[in-house]
């Protein structure tokens, strides 16, 4: 199927699903108490932006995600590069990396609250813990795929260590690093919002949980829609960027 046709089919399917949900909610097939119609979710979403508390929660969540993401990308990349440079350390770390995501990181959340208090730090740390290993794995993946001939070419062109990394290794490994960063965005969102759900004094997860516990369906669904929109838009933007990078290389 051609990409444009696939896009049209995809949009039609989404529109059909949302339309069906709208109809099911409007006709009472789905109780209003359970779910409000999608059109009301959109109205609720725009109404929420008038609330200073919600705007503050959005700010708190995005700040925590941003910090967790930046730390995960930077530290994940540095650890990945270090493990690549020290094969012995990599042999030790490989099984740990392979099994890392089997560990439910959220179990450490209470511990982090004990250490740091009920503030933005524990949820940021959870976001980081979720995101940084995927960056390590993709950094290693990218560096492993740098052809040996590039290192020799660097020497033929008299590149120093820094220039070799900046002008050859990073651009070559770029798509894999980008994939790591893209996944880290999603993991950071999951970690931060999930933590806010469990125990927090602010943030989108906290606000959704609060609305749920107080039967504020319109607020809850408006916020869920907001989270979905943000995550989908960020992901789509990164996906489009990644596609441009990969198209140039013809999948190489």
């Amino acid at each position: 199927m051609r990409p444009r046709k696939a896009t049209i089919v995809r949009l039609v399917l989404i529109a059909a699903a949302v339309g069906s949900l709208e109809a099911a909610c409007r006709t009472g097939l789905v109780a209003r108490f359970t779910m409000i119609p999608p059109s009301e979710m959109v109205v609720s979403l725009f109404g929420l932006f008038r609330s200073p508390d919600v705007v503050s929660d959005i700010g708190q969540t995005l700040t925590a995600v941003g910090i967790a993401l930046a730390a995960a990308v930077l530290i994940g990349f540095l650890i990945g590069a270090l493990l690549y440079a020290v094969p012995r350390a990599r042999r030790i770390a490989d099984p740990l990396l392979a099994t890392y995501y089997a560990v439910p990181v959220f179990v450490f959340y209470p511990l982090l609250i004990v250490f740091f208090g009920l503030n933005a730090i524990p949820k940021t740390v959870i976001g980081f813990l979720y995101a940084f290993v995927v960056m390590i794995i993709n950094t290693l993946n990218g560096l492993d795929r740098v052809p040996g001939v590039f290192w020799k070419t660097a020497r033929v062109h008299h590149l120093g260590r820094r220039d070799t990394v900046v002008h050859l290794i990073l651009p070559c490994a770029g798509p894999y690093l980008f994939t790591g960063a893209k996944l880290a965005v999603m993991y950071a969102f999951i970690g931060v919002i999930g933590s806010e759900f469990i125990l927090s004094s602010g943030g989108l997860g906290y606000r959704i949980s609060f609305a749920y516990n107080n039967f504020q369906s319109d607020v809850m669904y408006g916020l869920i829609l907001f989270v979905l929109m943000v995550v989908i838009l960020v992901n789509m933007g990164l996906y489009a960027w990644e596609r441009v990078l990969m198209e140039r290389r013809g999948g190489r």
């Binding site: 052809p147 001939v149 020799k152 070419t153 020497r155 033929v156 062109h157 008299h158 070559c172 013809g250």
Partner: protein, 247 residues
């Protein structure tokens, strides 16, 4: 991993503007020889001189290397690939543009200047690497089985290209190859190496005119040269196969 004694004693002197090929059985140390000459691997004993200056563990200015593996940079256009070394040298943009345009024309890549390597065939990507080397105007070009991944027809045509570039640039060329016909067709002299540790069994002079191309493969004396090369290599190749099987 145990140390491998890749090369035996080698005594070789290349003349300016000469085309020299090295053939030998698999694993005889041909590529190691190239890396030693290039300054990519230091010799355990002995010395390599380039223009009378010892080659250490750095590639000297004036030596260009083209590898068998595709070394074109997929994130750069053909033009940017060719300009890579010039930019790293700090060549001004006007000169870079002129030299890159010349190299594009010389290698027949003009129509693909703004394309990416992924859009080119294997042979054309190898041309990009050749152009990237030529643009730096090396006095010695080392070719490490550069056509190894190409089909026979493309290899013959690429051979013609290399001969033309060799004549036009006036550089010396040292070609590492396992293809006897390629060595016989392209070179002024062919060094035949023994099985590992590699040393020269003989150096065969072809006496081809400088203005030659791939049509010489139809000449009777071409057959005589390849026969001579194979006669020298046959036992060594058998020895290499037996040693590889033992290992």
């Amino acid at each position: 991993m145990p140390d491998v004694h890749a090369l035996g004693p080698i005594d070789l002197s290349l003349q300016p503007g000469e085309f020299f090929a090295v053939v030998g059985p698999s694993g005889c140390g041909k590529s190691t020889l190239l890396e030693v000459i290039a300054g990519l691997s230091p010799p355990t004993q002995g010395e390599v001189l380039f223009d009378g200056v010892p080659v250490g563990s750095f590639v000297p200015e004036g030596i260009g290397v083209i590898f068998q593996d595709d070394a074109s940079f997929p994130w750069l256009t053909v033009r940017e690939n060719i300009a890579f070394g010039l930019k790293r040298r700090g060549t001004d943009s006007k000169t870079t543009r002129r030299l890159v345009d010349d190299a594009l024309e010389l290698t027949g890549l003009g129509h693909f200047a703004d394309g990416y390597p992924a859009q080119l065939s294997g042979g054309m990507r190898q041309r990009v690497c050749i152009a990237r080397t030529l643009v730096l105007q090396p006095r010695l070009i080392l070719l490490d089985e550069p056509f190894g991944a190409l089909d026979q027809q493309t290899r013959l045509l690429m051979g013609d290209e290399v001969l033309r570039l060799w004549r036009e640039t006036g550089a010396s060329i040292l070609l590492i190859t396992h293809a006897l016909d390629e060595a016989a067709m392209l070179s002024d002299r062919v060094g035949v190496m023994s099985a590992r540790p590699g040393r020269f069994l003989d150096i065969v002079t072809t006496n081809w005119p400088r203005n030659r191309d791939s049509t010489i493969v139809t000449r009777p004396d071409f057959g005589q040269i390849t026969s001579r090369l194979w006669t020298l290599l046959r036992d060594q190749s058998m020895k290499s196969i037996v040693e590889t099987a033992r290992a």
